[in-house]
Each structure stands twice: as structure tokens, then as C-alpha cells.
């Protein structure tokens, strides 16, 4: 399976060739090349995934297999890592398609950078080396900084790209510092070997601090509270094709990295402390979900609202991962894909509307997009997916997380909070959709924090609607079909059980795995009555929230004041965001120090 390397190399080669030939810009050829390279990577990953089957595939770059200890860098592919890489390439195709409509200047270079971005994300999903994970992490970050600022719309605030870059750079440095501490202790960079070495160290101060620093780096990317500040600023400025990838997979990759690093590197040292780790990360997930949902509700700027919806969903994914069980993790994995397609559809719709009417505020757009009803329909369905509508893929994933929470002692209240989070977030989306696409109710009230986008420009007929609408429809369909794949829940749970099987992973990478028993795969039933109950509650809640919003009901003054205070913290000041990141790192480290030792 050494050809697996090509899944990263092909997009890289195509990307560099495109920029090499950028002076003779041939747009259709460039688009076709980008498509072909991404498709090639997708096919390779699909073949690899079939090859992985019930095990793991380990490939050593440069043909340096371990001799007693690891010297080279490996790609260690299992169901979840390979599957996420596959999803990255699958979502890159609609993004590249949208680039044909959204990017005007230097399109060929844009395709080139996009391909490198995709290659970085694929490599990040497959690698088994902690420093290499960091390199791909950094590559996808730098590509994202460039892509976010690539084609700046006239009204968009460019400093969003800047706060994004500064905050994420600080996260990367903390991550690398953590790697330095680990290498200083164990003298290894391979994740399996690090885990093996840390087992002897146990939950020492160094392990706690390194875990905190590495987690912060990854959680900044994932936009978990209090590291989420950059999202709204960055989403407010990025071009639509970039938003598809940012919202659909980029943040989720941060969570994937966290899960991977926890289960391979830190789990052996923290084996006896799962309860504390669970409490911390489920707590963080819930805080992220609630904060994101409330802020989404308070927003009238469509892109920023979507950004906070993304944050709220990230919180729910983190809940699934933080439960530290195979079914919870499987739920998050299914949820990520189903929700990723839906969010991509949302961003396509909003991208077209904001470009066509040259405004991004609910007030300025009120009723203006009535003619674009196919987009409105796709937007509405995607919003209902966020509200847990069966039988979409997101619903299936959530039902697994709910079951995992209900079966974990002390966490049975979590599904109710998840329903609340999604009702608020989806309610915000439905409210915006009803206003923008249907003109329901009175225009939104003026937003004191947001005055630059009051009017909105003339309608720009040249902004295409047909193909994007079809694309949004296809994405919604994909989100639906994903939930109907037969046997999906059970096979992803099996993959998740292997993902959380630290000993099995180490044996596959380091060799000598004959004595390791196969992991126990919990049996998962399909969504049961409780799942439909929570879904109904969420949908009703979202409807009520949307109706209250459209009807212009004002919230109690104290609540409004509290929300406004929280919004004020999102000051757009990079120094503030860095302070939050450093403070979050210190608090997380202190929590680990207090609970894990």
C-alpha cells in the first residue's frame, strides 16, 4: 500500500504545476486539473480504506521501518483517519466547483493553493508522527490564512484574516512547545512510541502540561471555547469555496487531531483518569455548544451567524469525543460528515445571497432573496438538519452520542442540553432564512454592534445562481443519503473501537502485535424512541425560537445585557484573543494538574 503516499503527493504536484503555469492562465484547464487531482486522491483513499478493512495500514516514508525503535515517519491509516481524509477530498470537489463562480482574480493560483490545502488536510489525517502532524497542521493553517484573505470583498473586514492568523499561530507555537517537552522526556516523535514511553512516566506534571499545550494548539483550530474567537472574524471575510472547507472539515480536523493524540500519545499515561478527562472535555464541549448557539441567535450578520453555528456544532462533536467511548466517538464521526455536507450547503446559499445583494445583514437582506427560492429551500432543509431532522446523517450520529451519554453514569442530562443547543442554533438559521428568503415578519432591528452593513448594494445579476443552487441541493441530498447508508452505525462504531484501541495501534505501528487482543466492538442499535423524542423536541424548539425571532419578540433585558457583554468580548483585537488563548492554556493545564495526578 506504499502508493498511499500519492494521495498527498498528487495534489501537491498538481498544485505546484498550476502555479508554475500561472502566467499562461487557462481557467478551464486549471479547474479540470484541480478536479482531476482531487478525484485521484479521493479514489486512492477509497481504495486504501477498502484495503484497511478491519485493521490498520502502516506505510513508512522513505522505507525506514522501525528497527527496535522508530526512526522514520509513518502513515498509519485506520477507518476513522482514512475516512476523514476521504471526506476532505469529497468536500473539496464542491469547493473547487464554487471557486469557478466566486474567484475572479488569479484563479489558477487559487486552485494551486487549494490543492496544497487539501493535500495538507489529507496528510494530517493519515500521519502517525506527532511532529509531522504539526507540519501538516501548519501547512493547512498557512494555506488557510492565504485563502481566507484571497479575494476580499469590498465590504468585508480584512482584519478577520489577520486575527485568524495571529491566534492560530499562537496555538501552533504552544502545540510545538508541547511536542518539545514530550521529546525531551521520551526522545521520540512517533505517536505510538511516545505513548509507549509515556506509559512509564505516568500522569506527571510534564505529561499534564504537555497535554494541555498540545490540546490548546488543536482546540484553537477546532474553535472550542475559549479559543473560538477567531472564527466569526475569519468567516466574515473568506470566499465561499474556502468557507465550504473551513466550516465542513477544517475545524473538525482540530478535534480529530485531539482525539488521535489523546488515544495514541496520552491515554497510556492517563489510563486511570478517564473520568476526569471526560468531565473536562464534555464540559468544554457543552460550554462551546451553548455559547456558540446563543451568539448565533444574537447575530444578524449571516456569515458570522453561521460561524457561531459552526462553533455550537463543534461543541456537540467534542461532547461525543469527550465521552471517551467507541460509540460516542462513532457518533461524532457520523455527525461530522452529515453536518459537514449540510454546513457546506448553508455556506453556498449564503455565499450566493451575500454576493448577489452585496450585503450580509439580515436587515439589509430582508425579503430580497424571494426570487431565489431553490436556494431558500436548500437553506431551510440544511437548517433543519442542524435541528436534528431524521433521517439525515446528522440525526444518526447524534443518536449514537445520545445513547453513549445515556449509558455513561452521571451524563444522562447531556442529550437534553444538546437538544437545547441545536434548537437555539437552528432557530437562528431558520429565522434568518425566513426573513431573507421569504420576507416574513418585520425586518430585523438595528444591531448596535454592527452598523457597516445597513444598506446593501444593488442586485448584481452577474452572480450565478443556477449551478450553486443545484450544488446546494446535491449537498443536502448527500447529507440525507449519508444517514441512509445501511449498516453505517455499526461499521463506524467498529472503526471507532479500533481508533480507541491504544494497544492495538501501538502494536500495528511498532510491530509485535501478536499478543494484543482485538478490541471489543459495542453493538449499536439503530436510532431508538429516545432519539426520535430528542429530535422532535429539537425541531419544535427550533421552530419556536425562529417564530419568536421573526415576530420580533424582545428578550428580557437582563438576558440581553448578558448576551451583549459576551458579544463585547469578541472585540476583533488580536491581543485579546491571544490573552484568551494563553489564559485558556493556563486554566486547562491547572485543571489537568489538579485532576489527573
Amino acid at each position: 500500500m506504499t502508493v498511499l503516499a500519492l494521495s498527498v503527493l498528487v495534489p501537491m504536484i498538481a498544485g505546484t504545476v498550476l502555479s508554475l503555469t500561472a502566467s499562461v492562465e487557462r481557467r478551464p484547464a486549471a479547474a479540470a486539473t484541480a478536479f482531476a487531482a482531487t478525484l485521484a486522491s479521493l479514489v486512492l483513499l477509497a481504495v486504501a480504506l477498502a484495503h484497511v478493512g478491519d485493521g490498520r495500514t502502516v506505510v513508512w516514508w522513505g522505507n525506514w521501518p522501525p528497527h527496535g525503535r522508530v526512526v522514520g515517519i509513518d502513515f498509519a491509516v485506520d477507518g476513522l483517519g482514512g475516512g476523514l481524509a476521504l471526506f476532505v477530498t469529497a468536500l473539496a470537489l464542491p469547493a473547487l466547483l464554487m471557486a469557478g463562480y466566486a474567484i475572479r482574480a488569479s484563479a489558477q493560483l487559487f486552485y494551486g493553493v487549494c490543492l496544497v490545502f487539501v493535500a495538507a488536510m489529507v496528510g494530517y489525517c493519515l500521519t502517525g508522527d506527532l511532529f509531522d502532524l504539526f507540519v501538516f497542521f501548519e501547512l493547512m493553517s498557512v494555506a488557510a490564512y492565504v485563502l481566507v484573505g484571497y479575494e476580499v470583498r469590498e465590504r468585508a473586514p480584512l482584519e478577520g484574516a489577520l486575527t485568524f492568523a495571529i491566534t492560530n499561530s499562537v496555538g501552533s507555537i504552544l502545540f510545538l512547545f508541547g511536542i518539545g517537552l514530550l521529546y525531551g522526556k521520551v526522545g521520540a516523535l512517533n505517536m505510538a512510541q511516545l505513548g509507549h514511553g509515556l506509559q512509564a512516566v505516568g500522569p506527571s506534571g510534564l505529561v499534564c502540561v504537555a497535554f494541555a499545550l498540545v490540546s490548546v494548539g488543536l482546540l484553537v483550530k477546532a474553535a472550542v471555547v475559549p479559543f473560538h474567537f477567531w472564527t466569526a472574524d475569519a468567516y466574515g471575510v473568506a470566499p465561499t469555496p474556502v468557507l465550504i472547507l473551513l466550516a465542513g472539515v477544517f475545524s473538525e480536523l482540530g478535534l480529530y487531531g485531539f482525539a488521535r493524540v489523546f488515544w495514541t500519545v496520552f491515554e497510556p499515561a492517563l489510563a486511570g483518569h478517564h473520568d476526569a478527562v471526560r468531565a473536562i472535555f464534555v464540559g468544554l464541549g457543552i460550554a462551546t455548544g451553548l455559547l456558540g448557539a446563543v451568539l448565533a441567535l444574537a447575530q444578524h450578520h449571516l456569515l458570522r451567524m453561521l460561524a457561531f453555528v459552526v462553533v455550537s456544532q463543534i461543541g456537540l462533536f467534542l461532547v461525543g469525543i469527550g465521552l471517551l467511548s467507541a460509540d460516542g466517538l462513532a457518533g461524532s464521526a457520523i455527525f461530522v460528515v452529515g453536518d459537514g455536507f449540510a454546513k457546506a450547503a448553508l455556506f453556498v446559499c449564503v455565499g450566493v445571497v451575500t454576493h448577489r445583494y452585496d450585503a450580509a445583514g439580515e436587515r439589509a437582506l430582508h425579503g430580497r432573496a424571494r426570487a431565489l427560492w431553490p436556494l431558500g429551500l436548500a437553506f431551510g432543509l440544511a437548517a433543519l438538519t442542524v435541528a436534528d431532522l431524521p433521517p439525515f446523517g446528522a440525526f444518526l450520529g447524534r443518536s449514537l452520542i445520545e445513547d453513549a451519554a445515556l449509558s455513561a453514569p452521571g451524563w444522562a442530562w447531556v442529550p437534553a442540553v444538546m437538544a437545547l443547543v441545536s434548537a437555539l442554533a437552528a432557530g437562528a438559521l431558520l429565522r434568518a432564512g425566513l426573513r431573507v428568503f421569504r420576507g416574513v415578519g418585520e425586518p430585523a432591528s438595528r444591531d448596535a454592534r454592527f452598523t457597516s452593513d445597513e444598506a446593501g448594494g444593488d442586485e448584481r445579476e452577474d452572480v450565478a445562481v443556477g449551478v450553486p443552487a443545484a450544488l446546494a441541493g446535491a449537498l443536502v441530498l448527500a447529507a440525507l443519503v449519508w444517514g441512509l447508508v445501511p449498516g453505517l452505525a455499526q461499521s463506524v462504531t467498529a472503526a471507532a473501537a479500533r481508533f480507541t484501541d491504544t494497544a492495538g495501534y501501538a502494536a500495528a505501528v511498532l510491530g509485535g502485535g501478536s499478543g494484543v487482543a482485538a478490541p471489543v466492538v459495542p453493538h449499536v442499535a439503530g436510532p431508538g424512541a429516545t432519539a426520535y423524542l430528542y429530535a422532535t423536541a429539537t425541531l419544535l424548539g427550533a421552530g419556536v425560537v425562529a417564530w419568536l425571532g421573526v415576530a420580533g419578540r424582545s428578550v428580557p433585558r437582563t438576558a440581553a445585557r448578558a448576551v451583549d457583554a459576551v458579544r463585547a468580548l469578541h472585540s476583533g483585537h488580536p491581543g485579546d484573543y491571544v490573552a484568551w488563548t494563553a489564559g485558556g492554556a493556563a486554566v486547562l493545564g491547572a485543571l489537568f494538574a489538579l485532576t489527573l495526578r
Binding site: V135, V142, Y145, A165, I166, H573
Partner: protein
């Protein structure tokens, strides 16, 4: 004394972050980030140092059997130095553009759109 290099790395990290947080000028903020980044070079090279070890370059006077400092951390630090330079370039380009648009390099005045 044996932790002094690690403490210097930690100091660079926090003092650089302090500068990043309190800067009143975007270019200044970028320069402070380079200080934060340099903490990782110091840490990496310090954990790979061997007392009395040679630089990991073999020659006729330094046979392969001599004691060496760790070449791996040096390769990591090399990568890291490149990353720093590139991040600085992108941040400066963004700063120049942001200034064109807003006419300010004071981060306090950037928050046009917030919440």
C-alpha cells in the same frame, strides 16, 4: 542549573506572548510572535544537547563513534525557523492590506465589526 535553558525557553514564550498581547502596533505584534516562536528553538535544541557532544557532522577528525548532540531536534528546529519566516511574511502582507483598507495599524482600532 540544569534547568536553566528550559527556563529561558519558558521565559521567551511568556515574554513574547506578553508583547503580543500588549502591542499597540500590528508590525510590533508580528515581531513579538517571532520571540514566542524562538522559545521553541531554544527548547528543542536544549533537550537534544549532550555535554561534550560534537555537532552531528561526521568528518575525518570526528568519527561516527564519537558522542554527538541530537541531529533530530536540529532538523526540527530548522523546519521551525522556516515556518517562522513564512508566517511573518504572510502576517506582514495582511497587515499592509489591512492598513490600506482601514488606515490604522493599532489593533485597538481594528474592531470595526465585533460581537
Amino acid at each position: 542549573m540544569t534547568v536553566l535553558p528550559y527556563l529561558v525557553a519558558a521565559w521567551l514564550l511568556v515574554v513574547g506572548l506578553w508583547g503580543t498581547i500588549t502591542s499597540r502596533h500590528l508590525v510590533q505584534q508580528v515581531m513579538c510572535l517571532t520571540v514566542v516562536q524562538s522559545s521553541t528553538y531554544v527548547l528543542l535544541l536544549a533537550v537534544g544537547y549532550r555535554t561534550g557532544g560534537y555537532a552531528p557532522i561526521v568528518s575525518s577528525s570526528v568519527p561516527p563513534s564519537s558522542p554527538f548532540v541530537d541531529p533530530i531536534v536540529q532538523a526540527l528546529a530548522l523546519t521551525d525557523v522556516v515556518v517562522e519566516a513564512t508566517v511573518v511574511a504572510v502576517l506582514l502582507a495582511l497587515t499592509v492590506q489591512a492598513h490600506k483598507r482601514f488606515g490604522t495599524v493599532d489593533p485597538d482600532r481594528l474592531g470595526e465589526l465585533s460581537g
